[in-house]
Amino acid sequence: MASPWWKVALSEEVTSTKPLAVDVADQPVVLWRDAQGIARALEDRCPHRRAPLSRGCVRDNGWIQCGYHGWSYDGETGRLKDIPNMKDEQKFPPVYKAAAFAVSENGGFVSVNLDQKTLLAPPAVRHDMPLGGTAHVALGHDQWISALFDDPGLVLDIRSVQFTPYLMSDLREENGLLVMERFCQWGKLHWPSYATAEFPITLITRTDPETGETEAVLRDDSFRTLLTAQVAPVPAARGVTQVRWRACIGDELKGSHAVGLRHKGSFAVRETVDAAALRVLIPSASHLANKLREDIRSAAPAVPSSVSAAA
């Protein structure tokens, strides 16, 4: 399986003033912007004495400088550029470098690919979305995706929206994505979902089978888009899932609940999962999803990707 692109930060989190530490599973990554404003990513480990580069600083010329002994690296190649007090001896053999990762930025996300020579096209997001956030969830990446499939309400919080267990369309593969549509209700006094004849809104999710990156679209029964969100779960250290998201509210909103979505905080990824509810959540869509994800994974050609394998 080719190494995927992971959305490891929101664009505004990556600056040229302070390096940002993120991780993809057990691989620590440091992000910053160089002098041209281009986002750069290196392994967050100085090859000199293994200190995290993210505890250093960004120099005026865009190099990242380790805060321990001051070694400086160029972000594009990872090459060592400067050791303090070495004066005019600043030419280093090519092995003097930190592991560099491929970086791409669009749609307000910064993505990295741990395979610097990846042939996979960087992800395209349709347009910039003004809202955004990051949630840290103490739940493994696969489990987080399964919860999203079986009960989005455990991991997502959309103001006034109640997710029902009723699917409008089963999970299926569509252009390489896992797509499903779920009925939702507004959170007001109404018949319980099992006794409701009609549902006012639906949530469509389109999920990348490898990364779990999901576009979620909330629509009303007149086919108006109320909310669009891009949600990117990334496996982080110690089994934590870091979820970055962006969202935008639809232009045409009818009804008080829909209009209420315009208020601040109408979309969020939950920081905590109700473990008691999660434990007894009956697998449904996720059962099929796991099979499909497995099939898609095994069909793809294997490509080595991890840094440690390459080093």
């Binding site: 000199h48 004495r49 200190a51 380790c66 321990y68 002994h69 001051g70 303090p84």
Partner: protein, 363 residues
């Protein structure tokens, strides 16, 4: 230009303390130069004095210390210090270790204002193996404000490797000791089988902010001679800085390996000869500087817990640290082979080696 101390991988060793919690056994490493074969968490030094407590910290009530996870309870009986592996109130249910006498007592000695415990074969304990610290009064008695207890969140050899490479100070501790700007920087390294000494000479270095504020140094630059001397077995270091203009700052910087990944420092800084302000303030800098060090050595430490095929990069400023790694591995290999003898005398006066201005330190 870039130097790597090249050695065959023959000193690839497994040194374990059978009584300490077991670490995963290392496979014999791939062929690589020995300096990169560095797994400091596996090093266990025996037949050595370790500084465990300031003398003023121990009274009739036992205090608890450890060396490589082995318990040391220390208290005074009729004014005399004793160290035992059992608490006096403990109902003993575990076996005595081989490191104590029949009563479970470790050899213990009081010197330089510190209490030293012997870890190793009790019959080999000898005051002649106590490190030479010529800037400390042998009978103790320095004021308490010149002492402190500080802990480092890393393995003891990592803390010492941090210390012996002073180029880190210009970045991590710039707000205390000044930045990296100087006209020239020279590093010399001397060593024997038990010690390593690094001398760093800087010409026209930016004045240490702490001296600017508390010693009233008006000049923009100062010449600096810094000496780090490590007693390998006891994990004790001397850090002696001579600043001109400025003060002489001799620091006793032990790194007692209480457990595999945590280190205790019973520091003593003899600032008796400096001005009133500096004398009181400088020893306090340890509280700040140690946190700055831990911010790097703490994340660094787990990255050295296993043998890695990825080699560290080195510069010419790292020769002292590289030599320290090799000497520690050599000593550990010797101990693994059952050779605990001291081939060099650690208690011989090292004043000349560290360039101590003896006239300032007469006891």
């Amino acid at each position: 230009m870039l130097e790597v101390a090249d050695r065959s991988a023959s000193s690839d060793t497994d040194h374990f303390d059978s009584a300490a919690p077991a670490a995963p056994k290392r496979a014999s490493g791939p062929s690589m130069n020995a300096v990169n074969n560095w797994v400091p968490h596996d090093l266990v030094m025996r037949d050595s004095w370790f500084p465990l407590a300031h003398d003023h910290a121990v009274g009739k009530t036992p205090v608890r210390r450890a060396v490589y996870s082995h318990p040391f309870y220390i208290w005074r009986e009729d004014g005399k210090v004793v160290a035992s592996e059992f608490h006096p109130l403990e109902i003993v249910t575990r076996d005595k270790s081989p490191y104590t006498d029949a009563r479970g007592r470790y050899p213990v000695i009081e010197h330089y204002g510190l209490i030293w415990g012997w870890f190793g074969r009790p019959e080999a304990a000898d005051p002649a193996h106590l490190p030479s610290l010529p800037f400390l009064p042998p009978k103790g008695g320095l004021p308490k404000h010149m002492t402190a207890t500080i802990r480092f969140d890393c393995s003891a050899p990592i803390s010492l490797e941090n210390l012996i490479d002073l180029t880190h100070a210009d970045f991590l501790h710039a707000d205390v000791v000044g930045d990296e700007k100087s006209d020239s920087e020279e590093v010399e390294v001397y060593y024997d089988s038990e010690t390593i000494t690094m001398v760093r000479t800087l010409v026209n270095k930016s004045v240490a902010p702490i001296m600017k504020f508390f010693s009233g140094i008006r000049q923009p630059t100062q010449n600096v001679r810094q000496v780090i001397r490590i007693y390998l077995r006891s994990h004790c270091a001397i850090a002696y800085g001579r600043f001109s203009p400025g003060d002489d700052v001799p620091l006793f910087h032990p790194c007692t390996p209480e457990s595999r990944d945590r280190t205790r420092m019973e520091m003593v800084m003899n600032t008796s000869n400096a001005g009133t302000m500096f004398r009181h303030v400088m020893p306090k800098a340890g509280y700040k500087v140690s946190r700055q060090d831990s911010s790097m050595t703490n994340p660094q430490s787990p990255r050295y817990m296993d043998l890695s095929p990825r080699k560290d990069l080195h510069s010419r400023f790292d020769q002292a640290g590289q030599r320290y790694r090799l000497l520690m591995m050599d000593l550990a290999a010797r101990q693994d082979a059952g050779d605990f003898a001291y081939r060099d005398n650690v208690s011989a006066d090292c004043s000349d080696i560290i360039g101590l201005r003896k006239e300032l330190f007469q006891f």
